[in-house]
């Protein structure tokens, strides 16, 4: 079993405004893209569980022409609130990097 980063050339997270987080996952090639899609390693349910949000709040986009998956979720703690740990939202992607991908 391989991990998600072995299929991608970029996994990143960032604020989309102070109230939302967005994840961009760009794949190395069409095979990697298809393998991960087929494995269902990434899905709205997986994201909802990892980030503790309602699955209905997960926006999940398969951007075929860019060999990318884009996911957006609401921030449970808004950027800059007293309990926030990551103002720019730049490290929230970390739990995705070593996500197991069944082949």
């Amino acid at each position: 079993m391989r991990e998600l980063w072995q299929f991608t050339k970029l996994i990143r997270s960032k604020n989309a405004g102070p109230f939302e987080l967005t994840f961009d996952i760009m794949f190395k090639n069409r095979d990697s893209f298809n393998d991960v899609l087929k494995s269902e390693a990434l899905s709205p349910n997986v994201i909802a569980q990892l980030y503790q949000v309602d699955v209905k709040q997960v926006r999940f986009f398969v951007v075929d022409e860019l060999l990318a998956i884009k996911i957006s979720i609401p921030r449970r703690v808004f950027s800059g609130d007293v309990d926030d740990t990551d103002i720019y939202g730049g490290q929230f992607h970390s739990p995705l990097v070593r996500l197991p991908v069944k082949e």
């Binding site: 990318a68 609401p74 007293v82 103002i87 970390s94």
Partner: protein, 497 residues
Amino acid sequence: MNSKLIFTHEHGRQTWFPLLQSSKRAIVRQTWIVLSAVYETSPKTKMKAVAATGNLSTGFREESLVRAVEQGANFVGCDAGTTDSGPYYLGSGNPRGPREGVKRNLRLMLREALKAGIPVILGSAGHAGGRPHLEWTLDIIRELAREHDWHFKLAVIDSEIEKDVLADAFNRGEITPLSPAPPLDDRVIRQAQRFVAMMGIEPIQQALNAGAQVVIAGRCSDVAIYAALPVLKEIPKPVAFHAGKILECGAASAAQRLYPDCMAAEMDQNGFTVEPPNPAIRCTPQSVAAHALYENADPYRLVESGGVLDTTDAKYEAVGERAVRVTGSRFTPSKKYTVRIEGATLVGYRSIVIAGIRDPLVLRQLDTFLSTVRTVIERKVSDSLRLSADAYRLNFRVYGHNGTLGDLEPLSKECHEVGLIIDVVAATQSVAADIIPIASHTGLHHPIPEHEGLISNLAYPFSPGGIDAGPVYSFCINHVWELNDPCEPFAMKMELL
């Protein structure tokens, strides 16, 4: 047209070269005339926009901007702000510098634009676009004009919204929440520190129509900076807005952004061609298309004041080695014209202390250790400062354990060392500062069963340990305001420098 202007045609595109003038008055008049020339060109003309950089404070290569303007830019734009760095700047009114860096960047933009007789459009001045941020930026602009004996017509567009105005709009039902949004009512509005509205293209167009050569806008849509003048020149909105989205981060849409730098796009009736002015940087169809994903929740739909840019059917084609032609996006006007409101409210004052923990016996029971430390701190604060635990916020930020992800951290491995930030937010700075020595002393000597006698568990690298981090704000609004007139909340002032 004025006889002092010489028009030439280069590669089929119109350019203009004002003759040098000696007196200041003449230069001002000449600027006005040159701008008139910009606005009177045929509606079917092309428009070339240059983004100086992605954010004014980050800078760009001087030679890139010089080259971009020489290649026939019709205006130079730059975004100076963002909410990305949190609510502090909007709340406090403090700009985000460095001032000298911002001055250097503005000097080059003004110098090149004035030389070529083209406008400069700066959006979200001073980082948050409030009145103090606008003033800070204007201070730099006036200083530059004085130092270089530059003279031009300056438009300043205010985007700060008075609380009374916002409360009235709220009570009239003109303010609606986006998702997710903090709860909003009259009290929240009254207690907040500052609100700004994010302007669309129209207030900038009004300033340009009034003959401004330099437009300094308060909080402003990044895209509007680059779409305002092209739309005024009858470039179709889908083209202008999509080009604006690509330009707003400067060289970020390049295949490899070596350093912050300029980006240029030439727009026409059917699309636009984006090309970095710096020959060392190149754009590819992939890099330009991928940029539409960045910092945007939806890869295809970009909601702007007045409508939605839809890039679902956009085509990205390579032109030579370094340029990309973009066509096929759509713009759907929205039924209601809305502007996004941003606001920040003061939540307290922060003091922190930083410590290291290395003892393996403490580390193997870290959660229990910290939760009992918390209980003792709360009791001591209650005894000595007469403050209950809900009168302040005590956070342990444990780096090496879950400092970055908090309760979302999926791993729970034991570490050989952790970094601890004891983070206190209280109603005043002095209360926060008073809690810190209680917290740090408690943590330092808190016992664990494996060691007998007085122990010292925390390694403090600094003396004094406590650091006052100042006021803490939070974003208190994620709403839009429906307007009848897109320019209504944005008062414009003209100034002749």
